[in-house]
């Protein structure tokens, strides 16, 4: 369980997030939604101590992360970053194996167990057939899945995902989120995912936290958070929301152009 109490943080004394309170519990997938620059990524960086808090506390299973050594923290929380630079000359397998770093001391080499864990993670993310390829040759989606495999290799109880589906096609979006969801349910992991796609957020997340201007605008189950009014307020966008034809979850629909009633088609 990860819990944030009155958290404020930002860069160079300029607060980006103020007084954030939230709680994510094992077996639950929490979605962070909100417009660009609403502080989703910053919040995720704060949770892994990549940037320090101005005030407030973040605790994981009751322990303040300030008091946890960095290596220990890496065994508790794994992150899939948004814009990672991957070393192009390394093979995919070597990059995934780097996920074992917090479990190995300075001197230990990866043993058979570590290799097996990395291989399993690659199978789960369908990157195992890329194992011997150089990372520089891979597509954006393949790299993204590699980072997810690396995070799984970390074997932590909490996984933070920053736009995990940003570079993925529709099939891999579903594959990856299905995988994360099933890990969340079966192994009772705590998952926090920053998502741009409101429909994916509605489909996969049990609890949504909507950020706006550095504050929590509202939180709740998808049906309560994803409303026409909230989206108009926070994103400034006019949308329609309908229940999904299969599972009744809120589905956000957009309309192209100003002229919302009629559409003329060019004769072809």
């Amino acid at each position: 369980m990860i819990e944030l109490k009155d958290v404020s943080l930002g860069y160079d004394h300029q607060a980006i997030l103020n007084n954030i309170n939230l709680r994510a519990v094992p077996g639950e997938m929490l979605g962070l939604i909100g417009p660009n620059a609403s502080g989703k990524s910053t919040l995720i960086k704060g949770m892994t101590r990549v940037i320090n808090l101005f005030s407030g506390h973040i605790s994981i299973d009751g322990q303040d992360i300030k008091n946890i050594k960095r290596e220990e923290l890496a065994r508790l929380i794994a992150t899939v970053p948004q814009n990672a630079v991957l070393p192009e000359a390394f093979t995919a397998f070597e990059v995934v194996l780097m996920g074992r770093t917090p479990h190995l001391g300075l001197l230990r080499y990866e043993g058979e167990k570590d290799i097996a864990i990395a291989w399993q993670a690659m199978e789960a993310t369908q990157t195992h057939f890329l194992a011997e390829r150089r990372v520089g040759e891979l597509s954006g989606g393949e790299k993204q899945r590699l980072l997810i495999a690396q995070a799984l290799t970390q074997q932590s109880r909490v996984i933070l995902l920053d736009e995990p589906t940003a570079h993925l096609d529709i099939n891999h979006q579903v594959e990856i989120l299905n995988l994360v969801k099933s890990l969340c349910l079966e192994q009772r992991l705590t998952v926090i995912a920053a998502l741009h796609d409101l429909n994916l957020a509605a489909q996969y997340c049990d609890w949504l936290v909507m950020l706006n201007g550095g504050e929590v605008y509202t939180e709740g189950i998808p049906q309560d958070v994803l409303t026409v009014q909230n989206i108009k307020q926070v994103y400034g966008a006019e949308v329609c929301i309908y229940p999904h034809p299969v599972n009744r979850l809120p589905t956000t629909l957009i309309t192209a152009g100003e002229d919302k009633e009629e559409r003329t088609y060019i004769q072809r």
Binding site: T48, L86, F90, L106, L107, H128
Partner: protein, 361 residues
Amino acid sequence: MARVLSDSISNPAIPYSLRWRGKAYTFAGLLGLLLVTVISAATIGSVHIPFPSFFEILLSRLPFVHIASSCPETFVTIILDIRLPRILLAGLVGAALAVAGATYQGLFRNPLADPYLLGVASGAGLGATIAFLIPFTISWMTFGAVPVFAFAGGMGAVAVLYSLVHIGKTLPTTSLILAGVALGAFLNSITSYLMSTCGEELHGIVFWLLGGLSLTKWAEVWIVLPCVLAGIIIIWLYARPLNVLQLGDEQAQQLGINVERVKLILLSAATLITSAAVCFTGLIGFVGIIIPHAVRLIWGPDHRYLLPLSTLVGSIFLIWADTLAHTIAQPTEIPVGVITAFCGAPFFLYLLRRRKRLVFF
């Protein structure tokens, strides 16, 4: 679906561990090559000394072995007092420059990084120039002012740079590189001014700046050896963190690496061995930038192999370069930096051509 696929694709566990073993054989092979290099280099020179005599001289100096050497006394002097210290220093300097270069390139994720990037060269150059020009003589142990000033200059330049650039505990690498270039230009301008006004010491300064290993004594080897060995071992220990740093600072931090501490340790160790290497031999160029790249092109980017293999290749390369430098134009000696660039560059260009697609990190 993943299950079905996995049956047709081999588990990488075996090839991966085999690869590790392959690298160990490579390391052993290069170690053997280094030994052969040392022995052959000791026999080549203005006076040719046959192999049996070399071993005889070596054995006669070992404790508990009582072999009366039948070689002429001049051979003994040439091997023990002239060639061996020179060869060992060349090996140490080559190893130090190659490892420092690989470390800087890895830290900055920049293929143009070399051991002199952060002002070690310009600091040491200025130190040495000042030492040449001071009107009185200073000496520390058996050494004159030049190595002491050069060492202090090299370390001092990087220390100044660090104190200028760091923000709190963090060290922005791009600022560090740019500030290094600026500081280097500043120090070089002073060196150039001093050179333009100095007069008869100019020849000595120019030769020091070009780099060379002539007149190496054992005392120098005994000073450089512990510094370089300690620095190299520290750097080897941090090979895995250096790999993880290739994912970027944030991701490395998130994987449990204390990024700023690792950077500081690697930077200090690389600066120490570079300063120790250049203070006696001057600014030998090219080894530090090209050897790590050549090793990377042949054996891959993993620093756990890259650093040890660069160490060996660097020392083998510099021993041969130095042997060529003092033999091909006898009785005069060519600056070793001329040889390293003249012979090393074509080989490196060949490696670049051979690899169609170029990725460094």
